[in-house]
Symmetry: C2
Subunit: 416 residues, 2 copies
């Protein structure tokens, strides 16, 4: 890809993100819904301005998720996260088991081979923490108890999902699955998070003290971004996802006395990369899969809609595994776990490559991913208390409020 191709892609992405983000906000929806819808308009189902399969756009969008989770980590109090740890774990485990069983059931209903049904079940287990975290941020709900449970559960869910992916991947490749192998994968994945937080907490204050003694430009910014990149890289080495590493980096740096400064410094960079991810999610959506008049695809449309239904119900029920609070709060938690995002697609991709999923079944899973991803933002919006912008404390407000000139703050504070 040349620089001019990148410029065209970025122009289309930013224009779509901002125009449709604005539109979404005007109709009272989270901006992220607009960004994804804008992606549909410029992507494979629309103007073809952005090829989300281009390696460059893909890797830049991954950098966006990484930075988003780093910021979310910086906003998260690890003690509050641990306080709801049991609820998070319960929600995560239920949120893996219920959709898995339901997905397997759908496969069995259509008399698909067991291995195929297992794959369908597995692809229903994921939660896209990026989408939910962004919605909570857009709605100013990142500090609520529900948000803590959702964040914790989504992280655990991601780790469980990766373990499951390793297992079904091994199954697809015809390798034997041993209890020791499962235990090892499990231990490394969770061990990394514990290690990253403990070792990081010891290291981070010293690193910051050392680097801010340098006279180079923006030493604090580069120290923290490199810290996040390093933990993300280590997470990948440990078999976990890069954004689990950057989330852990955020959690660690949130406990230093420079947390607010770091957040303000990282924010502008993150805002550049984050829309690339959400627009790419939309740009990947292929609406031709939804054509009910195409006889050949109708069966897969039915399977896809069934998968979507059980995917939504499964996660909503999983939310009840949380604390015995008000029913609405449990529903909110369940709704927050609904979006499958790119994680569900990774499962489907592995199945497709292994020859377990046909192109038709792949599109069924893709439909499920698409609907769950797009249904969660308005669902959460409807369930959460309607705040006026003055009450809203989104990530962006944290930063714009502290800006000296106040120009952005004015823009943010305009009445609806």
């Amino acid at each position: 890809m040349t620089i001019t191709e990148l410029l065209v892609a970025l122009l289309a992405i930013f224009a779509a993100a901002k125009l449709f983000g604005e539109l979404a906000r005007r109709i009272g929806q989270p901006a992220v819904l607009g960004e994804m819808a804008g992606g549909i308009v410029i992507g494979v189902s629309g103007l073809h301005l952005v090829d989300a399969h281009s390696p460059l756009i893909h890797v830049l969008s991954e950098l966006g998720v990484l930075l988003l989770l780093f910021l979310i980590g910086l906003e998260t109090d690890i003690h509050r996260l641990l306080a709801v740890g049991r609820a998070s774990a319960a929600v995560a485990v239920a949120g893996v088991l219920l959709p898995f069983a339901a997905g397997y059931g759908v496969g069995a209903l259509f008399a698909l081979p067991t291995a195929v049904s297992v794959f369908l079940g597995a692809s229903l287990t994921a939660t896209s923490v990026a989408i939910t975290a962004r919605v909570l941020s857009d709605l100013g709900q990142l500090k609520s108890d529900e948000a803590q449970v959702i964040l914790g559960a989504a992280v655990i869910d991601d780790i469980l999902g990766l373990i499951l992916l390793t297992l079904v991947g091994a199954m697809a490749a015809g390798r034997k699955i041993t209890l020791i192998g499962v235990g090892k994968t499990f231990g490394i994945a969770f061990g990394f998070v514990v290690f990253a937080i403990v070792a990081g907490s010891l290291l981070a204050p010293r690193l910051i003290a050392l680097m801010t003694r340098l006279r180079v430009t923006r030493a604090l910014f580069f120290t923290s971004i490199m810290f996040a990149f390093a933990l993300a890289y280590l997470a990948d080495l440990a078999g976990s996802a890069v954004f689990i590493g950057s989330f852990a980096a955020g959690l660690v740096l949130a406990r230093t006395d420079r947390a607010r400064d770091i957040e303000r410094e990282v924010y502008p960079i993150a805002q550049f990369f984050i829309p690339i991810f959400f627009v790419a999610v939309g740009a990947n959506v292929d609406l031709t899969q939804l054509n009910p008049f195409n006889r050949a695809s109708r069966q897969f449309l039915v399977i896809g809609l069934l998968l979507t239904l059980v995917a939504i119900i499964g996660k909503l029920l999983a939310g009840s595994a949380a604390f015995a609070g008000r029913p609405l709060r449990r529903l909110v938690i369940g709704a927050g776990m609904i979006p499958r995002g790119e994680v569900g697609l990774i499962f489907a991709q592995v199945g497709l490559t292994a020859g377990l999923l046909s192109a038709g079944l792949y599109s069924s899973v893709a439909l499920m991913v698409m609907v769950t991803t797009f249904v969660a933002p308005p669902l959460l919006r409807a369930m959460l208390p309607c705040q006026t912008p003055d009450e809203v404390s989104t990530l962006s407000d944290v930063v714009t409020e502290t800006m000296s000139d106040g120009t952005e703050a004015q823009v943010e504070e305009r009445p609806r």
Copy 2:
């Protein structure tokens, strides 16, 4: 390239940029010299941590140059630039003709074919505006008269260079060169800059007024960055370089009443991408070309050193074509035109691909590019008045001074 490969590359690039940048500042040199030196350490001649030929790193580094020139444009007063327009044009034309003739002469001296000598001459004409602009910024000299002449001349030089590249490219491909063709290339290239500035000046205030009425996050930032990207893309369409377009965008936005706000908003993003370019310049340097003990490469080393010599003298003399000021000022202007950077390498690459330059002659040109690029920063540093950091007004200070918390400003203001 995967996200983990990108993370490793960015970690290496930022670490090299910041550690060697700090080192350079401690010995009183511009930070950019350190960043390029750091690139050598982690690049093809050193630790091989960064492959600057990777398309991803290349395109990100080009984005860095584009944003740097956008910021330089935002800092530049177009009236002051036009006031020294005649001097700039004289320096640019002399800076193309003298090195071209000298390079041709070196080729003739070694009895090389005419077409080869023409290519050697052409590869000496370029000026890397990015490197000089960054050095002037590091030394706090961006507002001086000399800087205006250098910037204007470098932009004209770039356009002339691109025209020359079109011509020698056509020659290498055996196509006929017509006066009408030359005139057309010339007209489009210069016409674009005039068009961009006139049309942009009419459009920019309306665009800003429109976009800042939106409630989306950071509307001003995205408006200005998209304006720069759009002009960069148009510049490419017009056969010019992308960074000429972003420089023009900066010039235009500098005249709006939000210029300082835009600069502050763009600065953090630019700082993320700019070091990628300068470290990549160093990472590309292959020191094995310099081995004088290798008998086979010795002849090309001699040619390379001769080219380097005439490349430096040619541009220093070209500086005298400016106003009849103090001799030192003219020397400063000449020195500012010395670095060939990546532009010279593009010429050599075209010649190599066309089969006109042998691998040996390519390395001669690469040596010239390398030495001119690295010699300019300390040369300019030695010629320019030694300012204490308190007097220095670099791009970074413009921004850090306006930051509310003052933490970065403290770091910047530490006495040497």
